[in-house]
Symmetry: C2
């Protein structure tokens, strides 16, 4: 836990305790190894190559990212095994960007529709031929889906593997397990290399739901994989996992890869869910008390533009106050956190500092330009949030 706002740190800032970060990273790595899982942490949480490096050093096989833009930042930093766990639609500059990415990293992308698979097959493989066709008029443009592409396959096609997204109960993107084999056959027929299946058990983000979500995740992946294999498409990687559900996934079961993200820092949501302790929270916003206008409240200089506005109904407020156990972040404006206190509470001095643990650390980090790195309460470094805003 970050113990206090370090002297000299301007507020609002995001401060991390590197000792806690390292323990969090090691704990997850050891649990994954003990369970026989490979670990591919989601880097959208920290967006920071220094933290990804710690994850890989602890045994992660590669990184998960959400966008081509995030993948580019980590490829630029030398990370060469990237899974874009998102149903990309390749248009505009995304085509060229993904091709360039695949030239310097092993890349897999999420797919949950034949349409996106066709797009991927068209834009990835035959561009060289299309250019050639433009020069000679002999071949024409990229073949439409369903036609035999073997004749026009370039020898040096860009290799992008696909991971089929399966819905395990979150009801977001991802096909149902029953629809997975049809999609897998279609994708294979397009010449795409299907590495495996993935799911995001986002419904593990409900109090008490993590174990059930892990069971549904296992079930969905197992059913989908069996059907896909029975349809003649070999898949090797079955990927799941989130920070709340990771500890609930069974060793020796169908899930082989875990993709948790938040665990590196944890946050007020994870604390409320019981998936971390307060001592395992590695990041907090450093804030200053700017107002204490009435006996029932004081105001901190971190609002939704620093903490993020995320607030699930089951979190007690808009952030966690480690040094004000009876108080509540009852509302956020853009630059104000209103902290309501029980009657009789002595209000803090205006100008004093305190910490707020964001509800959802991924949102908070994406609002910051840098992370203040501390050990033992002392600032030892500042790391840019290199992939901040890389949402394309």
């Amino acid at each position: 836990m970050v113990v206090a706002v370090p002297v000299g740190v301007a507020t609002p800032s995001l401060v991390l305790d590197l000792d806690v970060v390292e323990r969090n990273i090691d704990r997850m790595a050891q649990a994954a190894a003990a369970g026989g899982f490979t670990l591919r942490p989601h880097a959208k949480t920290h967006k920071c190559p220094q933290l990804a490096a710690l994850q890989l050093r602890a045994g992660a096989v590669g990184l998960t990212v959400a966008t081509i833009g995030e993948a580019e930042v980590f490829a630029d930093a030398g990370f060469d095994d990237l899974f874009i766990a998102y149903p990309l639609w390749l248009d505009g500059d995304r085509v060229g960007r993904l091709r360039r990415l695949a030239e310097r990293a092993r890349v897999a992308v999420g797919v949950d529709s034949v349409a996106a698979g066709q797009r991927l097959a068209e834009v990835m493989a035959p561009v060289d031929l299309a250019l050639l066709a433009g020069a000679t008029g002999a071949i024409g443009r990229a073949p439409a889906a369903g036609r035999d592409r073997s004749a026009v396959r370039p020898v040096e096609a860009t290799i992008i593997e696909v991971m089929i997204e399966v819905d395990s109960g979150h009801r977001r993107s991802g096909v149902s397990p029953a629809d997975a084999p049809g999609l897998a056959v279609a994708l294979a027929g397009l010449g795409l290399r299907v590495r495996g299946l993935f799911t995001f058990p986002g419904h593990s983000y409900d109090p008490g739901a993590a174990d059930r979500a892990a069971r549904e995740e296992e079930d969905a992946l197992a059913r989908a994989a069996a059907a896909v294999r029975a349809a003649g498409v070999p898949v090797t990687v079955l990927s799941g996992g989130s920070t709340p559900s990771a500890a609930h996934v069974r060793s020796g079961g169908p899930v082989g890869e875990l993709r948790p993200g938040v665990y590196v820092f944890n946050d007020a949501q994870q604390l409320a869910l019981g998936s971390c302790t307060e001592a395992q929270i590695a990041l907090a916003a450093a804030t200053t008390v700017v107002s204490a206008p009435a006996s029932d409240r004081f105001v901190l200089d971190a609002g939704s533009k620093a903490l993020g506005a995320d607030r699930p109904a089951w979190t007690p407020g808009f952030g966690h106050l480690p040094h004000w156990p009876g108080a509540l972040v009852s509302s956020l404006s853009e630059h104000h956190a209103v902290v309501t206190v029980p009657p009789g509470t002595e209000l803090p001095r205006i100008g004093s500092t305190t910490l707020v643990v964001p509800n959802h650390v991924c949102s908070a980090v994406n609002l910051a330009d840098e992370l203040v790195v501390t050990r033992g309460g002392a600032v030892i470094d500042r790391w840019p949030v290199a992939a901040r805003g890389a949402h394309r």
Copy 2:
């Protein structure tokens, strides 16, 4: 209203319709002029000098900002009358930054405590003398509050005016009207120039509450001003106003200055509150349909990292879908907007584009690096969100 996602615009992006922006700016400017109000729009909404310039051209007397960082961006762009409507606590580099700001712009800052006023008086006026004292040993450091400062007042003191923040019912920062005269006398005694009083009627952000909030705003400012003047502190400017309440403030009443922000773009919140029409919404997120995995929903590539996670209980979802009247943005992940549709709805083609109006446009703009500027559906420019992330 932005009519469609312009061809060639990468998603997610924020697209504004400059014709609608100009009409919004003109409408507010004309209403303010007709009511005898001066207009000092809050630039935290757009964070963009090009839009501030349109506001000043339409008659605004200056800008409101939330942070020293925002003020610096607008001062750099040549804006020379800035009100930082926030109870600043001046520590660290804020002292020097505010002094430098005051050298190139007329600056006022919000104050709601004697402590912050003391800080302001100490760090603003006597620094030159403190330096001098360091050299000569004759004067000592800045005088403590309450002592007679006239003897040590430097001739060329940095001039920063203060605006006393009054709470008119939002229960955030700001003193009660009853506490205003005591604060005003203390600030004047510190040698600070009290320009006036301000309030933010944030409780106007509730359905049907705008008129009542405007009455409470008028009442709070009138009571506070009368008491402050009776205590011997002359105040000239009484500043209020928000986008929902601005039209409800009475001409000829106590309020003299309005500080709305959101009106330049409007958003899904304002639409739900009835403070704008759909035709007056000037900004939307351009998004792509990336998934349509089941008959009840489709997924867009704009999540909370593009739209912001703001969701008051009275908004119908996490954004407004102008082209999908029966549909609902039922949840946001960081890069997914899940749109649920009524039974029997024909789902959009994957790869097609649509618009989402953010719930709270200030949050969405702060997540973007640039705004795509259109007229008549065509892209005519791209404006950097110059003050994005300037939250210190």
